[in-house]
C-alpha cells in the first residue's frame, strides 16, 4: 500500500513524536498529563516498530508483534498509573506532581 513512501519519513515522524512526548514529561506538572506524554512516547515507539517490521522484516514481521505487546503494556500502564494517581489525590488533594516531594535528600 505505502510502497513508495520512503521509510525515513516514518522514522522522523516517530522521532518528532518521541521528542514532543519527552518535552511533555519534563514540562507538565499534572500527573495525568505526564501519563499522556508517556503514552505519546510509547505511540512513537509503536510507529517505529511497525515501520521497521513492514520495511525491513516483511517475512517475520517481529516488529508487529512487538508493537502489539507495547500497546497492551501501555494500556495496562495507564490503568495502574491512574490507580496510583488517585491514591495520591486522596492523600494530598492535588494531582500536581511537584507537591509530592516529602521524600528528599
Amino acid at each position: 500500500m505505502a510502497g513508495d513512501i520512503p521509510m525515513e519519513n516514518f522514522l522522523v515522524l516517530s522521532a518528532i513524536l518521541f521528542g514532543i512526548g519527552f518535552y511533555g514529561v519534563l514540562a507538565r506538572r499534572s500527573a495525568i498529563l505526564i501519563l499522556v506524554s508517556v503514552e505519546l512516547m510509547l505511540a512513537a515507539v509503536t510507529i517505529n516498530m511497525v515501520a521497521f517490521a513492514a520495511y525491513l522484516d516483511p517475512e517475520r514481521f517481529t516488529g508487529l508483534i512487538f508493537a502489539i505487546f507495547v500497546i497492551t503494556v501501555a494500556a495496562a500502564e495507564v490503568g495502574r498509573a491512574l490507580g496510583i494517581v488517585l491514591r495520591l489525590f486522596r492523600d494530598r488533594q492535588t494531582a500536581m506532581v511537584d507537591e509530592a516531594s516529602d521524600l528528599k535528600w
Binding site: F22, L26, V97, D98, A100, S101, L103, K104, W105
Partner: protein, 641 residues
C-alpha cells in the same frame, strides 16, 4: 693466672653485681662484705696480671695483636660480599696502659668501698648501693681490657648507666634526679660522637679490632679529612665522659651523689675513661695531627676554666669537682702533645690524692652535715686525723716536691715545653699556680681560722676508723706514687727500663723519664707562691678576700655564674630544642593531622552534602536528570565515531 684470663677481672664484680642486685636483702649486712672481698680479689688478680705482663716484657716491645687473647664472636653476619663481614666479638687486650689502669681502678674502688661501709651506714638502699658500685667496677674494668672498639663502647655505656644510678642514688631528692638526668644526657650526647667515630673507623678498616684499626690508619688507609672527622668524633665522646670544656657542665652537679661515689667515679675512674680512650687510640691520633691539636687546646681551656671556677665556689665537693676538671685538662694537654706516658702518670698520681681529698671532704660532711665552706672553719681541733690527711692530699694536688702531684705535673710541663712552644706552657704554669691557690683557700676556710657556724662545729667529731684507714692508705700512696717514675725505683720494681718504658703503647717508643731542674724549681716556686697568696687572702677572717671581691664585682659574678655556660645551655635547650619540638608538634597537629587526615575526611563528607541536594524530591527534576543522562550518552556516542 696470666694475661689470657684477664677477662676474669671484670667478670667477678659483674657476677656480684647481678647477685647482689637481686638478692641483697637475703644476705647478712646486705652483702657489703661480699662485694669488698670480690674487689679485693680483683686487686690481687691485677697484680698477678702485672707480674705476668712483666714476664712477657722481653725485648721492650710488643708485636701488634699478639696480646689479643681470649675472644668469642657475639654477632656475626657474613654478607657474602668479599671481606664485608660484620663481626662484633668479645675480645680482650692487655698492654702497658691497661695494666696501669687495672691497678688504679681496683685499688681506688676497694678503698672507696671500705670507706662507704662507714659513710653509708644506715642508708635505706644500702645493699643496692654496694651492688651498683660493684657493677660500676665491672664496667670500668671491662672498658679497660676490651680489645675492640664496639665492646669498649658497650662498657662505656654501662659505666654511664652505673654513674646515672649512683648520682641519682638519693632519688627522693628532686635535685639528685635532675643531676643524674643531666649527667646521663650530656654523656649520652658525647657518646653519639663516639659511636659515629667508631662506625666511621670500622667503615674504613672493615673491623672493630683496635689493633687492626691502628694498623690500617698507620698504613694510610683513611682519607685525611675522613680520619680527622672520625677522631674528632671520638674525642667528643671522650670529652663528654671526662667533662672537658663543652661537656663539663654535668660534673659539678654530679656531686649530688653520695661522696664516696664522687670520690670513686668523679675523681679516679669514670672521668679518666676519656683519657684512657685517647691514650689507647694515640697511634691513630698521631696520624690525624689536626685532631691532636684540638685535644691540646680543649685541654688547656678546660684546665684554665676549672681552676678559675675553683676559686669562687663555696661547696667543698664542687671545688674538688672543678679541680678534677682542671687536672683532667692537664692530662689532655699531655695527650695533646702526644705524650701518653706523662698523661697516664698524672692520671696514676691524681687518682690517689684526688680520691683522698674527696674522702676527706666526705668525712667532713659526715661529721658536720654541712658542705658549704662559709659555715665550716677551725675543724682542725675536732678532726685532727682528717685534717692532716686532707692537708697531705691538698699539698700533693698543689704539686709540692716530695708528693706525687709534683712529679706528674712537672712531667707534663716538661713535655708541653718541648711539644707546643711557649704560650701554652705559660698558661699551664699559671693554672698550676691557681691550683695551689684554691687548694690553700679550701684548706684554710675549712680547717683553720675560727668556726663560723657554732652548731656545725659542736656537732663535728672525728670519723670512725673504717673511714680513716682507707684515707690513710691513699695518703701513703699519694706520697710514694711519685717516686715510681724515677729510674732506680722502676728498676727495683723489676721494670728494666723504668716505668717510662712500660707505660706506652704499641709502635710508640718508650719515653725515658728525666727531671729537668729548671722546670722543677720553677714549678715548686709557683706552688709555694700560690700557697702564700692563699694564706694572705684567706687566713683569719679572710677580710682581704672580701675586699678583692668588691674590687671587681662583675668579674666575680662572671666566675660565680660559671661564665654563664649553664645559662647558655639552658637557653639553647628551652628555645631551640623545645621550640623546635613545639613547631613539630604544632605542625603535626595542624598540618598533618587536621588538614591532611581530617580535612580529607570532611572534604568527602562535604561533597556528599552538596550532592545530597540534587535529590530534590520532585519528579520533573528526576525526569530531567534522566533526560540529560540519555542526551549526553547519545551526543558522546555520536561524537566518538
Amino acid at each position: 693466672m696470666g694475661m689470657e684470663q684477664v677477662w676474669l677481672l671484670p667478670a667477678i664484680p659483674a657476677v656480684l653485681f647481678a647477685l647482689m642486685g637481686l638478692f641483697n636483702r637475703l644476705v647478712p649486712r646486705r652483702g657489703d662484705f661480699i662485694v669488698i672481698l670480690g674487689m679485693a680479689a680483683v686487686v690481687v688478680l691485677s697484680f698477678l696480671v702485672l707480674l705476668d705482663f712483666q714476664g712477657s716484657f722481653k725485648d721492650g716491645h710488643f708485636a701488634p695483636g699478639d696480646s689479643n687473647f681470649y675472644s668469642f664472636s657475639w654477632v656475626e653476619i657474613d654478607t657474602g660480599v668479599v671481606d664485608d663481614l660484620l663481626l662484633i666479638e668479645f675480645s680482650t687486650f692487655v698492654d702497658g696502659i691497661t695494666v696501669l689502669m687495672l691497678a688504679v681502678v681496683s685499688i681506688v674502688t676497694l678503698m672507696v668501698m671500705v670507706y662507704s661501709v662507714g659513710y653509708m651506714h644506715g642508708e635505706v638502699r644500702y645493699g643496692w648501693y654496694f651492688a651498683v658500685l660493684s657493677g660500676f667496677g665491672a664496667a670500668m674494668l671491662m672498658l679497660v681490657v676490651s680489645g675492640n672498639l664496639l665492646l669498649l663502647y658497650l662498657s662505656w655505656e654501662a659505666v654511664g648507666l652505673a654513674s646515672y644510678l649512683l648520682i641519682g642514688f638519693y632519688w627522693e631528692r628532686q635535685t639528685a634526679a635532675e643531676a643524674a638526668k643531666k649527667a646521663f644526657i650530656t654523656t649520652r650526647i658525647g657518646d653519639v660522637g663516639l659511636l659515629i667515630g667508631i662506625i666511621l673507623l670500622w667503615r674504613g678498616a672493615g673491623s672493630f679490632d683496635i689493633q687492626e684499626i691502628i694498623h690500617f690508619a698507620e698504613g694510610g688507609g683513611y682519607g685525611e679529612t675522613y680520619l680527622t672527622v672520625a677522631m674528632l668524633m671520638l674525642f667528643a665522646g671522650a670529652a663528654g665522659k671526662s667533662a672537658q670544656f663543652p661537656f663539663h657542665v654535668w660534673l659539678p652537679d654530679a656531686m649530688e651523689g653520695p661522696t664516696p661515689v664522687s670520690a670513686l667515679i668523679h675523681a679516679a675512674t669514670m672521668v679518666v675513661a676519656g683519657v684512657y680512650l685517647v691514650a689507647r687510640m694515640m697511634p691513630v691520633f698521631d696520624v690525624a695531627l689536626v685532631a691532636r691539636d684540638v685535644v691540646l687546646y680543649i685541654g688547656l681551656t678546660t684546665a684554665a676554666l676549672g681552676a678559675t671556677l675553683g676559686l669562687v665556689t663555696s661547696d667543698i665537693k664542687r671545688v674538688l669537682a672543678y679541680s678534677t676538671v682542671s687536672q683532667l685538662g692537664f692530662m689532655f694537654v699531655a695527650l695533646g702533645v702526644g705524650s701518653v706516658t706523662a698523661a697516664m702518670f698524672h692520671l696514676f698520681t691524681h687518682a690517689f690524692f684526688k680520691s683522698l681529698l674527696f674522702l676527706g671532704s666526705g668525712s667532713v660532711i659526715h661529721a658536720t652535715e654541712e658542705q658549704v665552706v662559709e659555715t665550716l672553719g677551725g675543724l682542725r681541733r675536732k678532726m685532727p686525723a682528717t685534717t692532716t690527711l686532707f692537708v697531705i692530699g691538698s699539698l700533693a694536688l698543689a704539686g709540692i716536691v716530695p708528693l706525687a702531684g709534683f712529679w706528674s705535673k712537672d712531667e707534663i710541663l716538661l713535655v708541653l715545653q718541648d711539644g707546643a712552644g711557649f704560650g701554652p706552657f705559660v698558661i699551664l704554669a699559671a693554672t698550676a699556680a691557681l691550683t695551689a691557690i684554691y687548694t690553700t683557700r679550701l684548706v684554710l676556710l675549712t680547717f683553720f681560722g675560727e668556726p663560723k657556724d657554732q652548731a656545725a662545729y659542736d656537732h663535728a667529731h672525728e670519723s670512725p676508723a673504717v673511714m680513716i684507714l682507707p684515707m690513710a692508705l691513699l695518703a701513703l700512696l699519694a706520697v710514694i706514687a711519685g717516686f715510681v717514675a724515677l729510674d732506680p725505683v722502676g728498676k727495683a720494681l723489676g721494670f728494666t727500663g723504668g716505668i717510662g718504658e712500660v707505660v706506652f703503647t704499641q709502635g710508640h717508643e718508650g719515653h725515658a723519664f728525666k727531671l729537668d731542674p729548671t722546670i722543677a724549681i720553677g714549678a715548686t716556686l709557683s706552688a709555694l707562691a700560690g700557697i702564700v697568696i692563699g694564706f694572705i687572702y684567706w687566713s683569719g677572717a679572710a677580710e682581704r678576700a672580701v675586699r678583692a671581691r668588691q674590687w671587681s664585682p662583675e668579674f666575680h659574678d662572671l666566675l660565680v655564674n660559671r661564665y654563664y655556660i649553664d645559662h647558655l645551655y639552658q637557653f639553647v635547650i628551652d628555645k631551640v630544642v623545645l621550640g623546635l619540638a613545639t613547631v613539630v608538634a604544632y605542625f603535626d597537629r595542624w598540618v598533618v593531622n587536621e588538614t591532611g587526615v581530617d580535612g580529607s575526611a570532611q572534604g568527602i563528607s562535604f561533597a556528599g552534602y552538596r550532592l545530597k541536594f540534587f535529590q530534590t524530591g520532585r519528579i520533573p527534576n528526576y525526569a530531567l536528570a534522566m533526560a540529560i543522562g540519555v542526551v549526553v550518552l547519545a551526543l558522546v556516542a555520536i561524537g566518538r565515531t
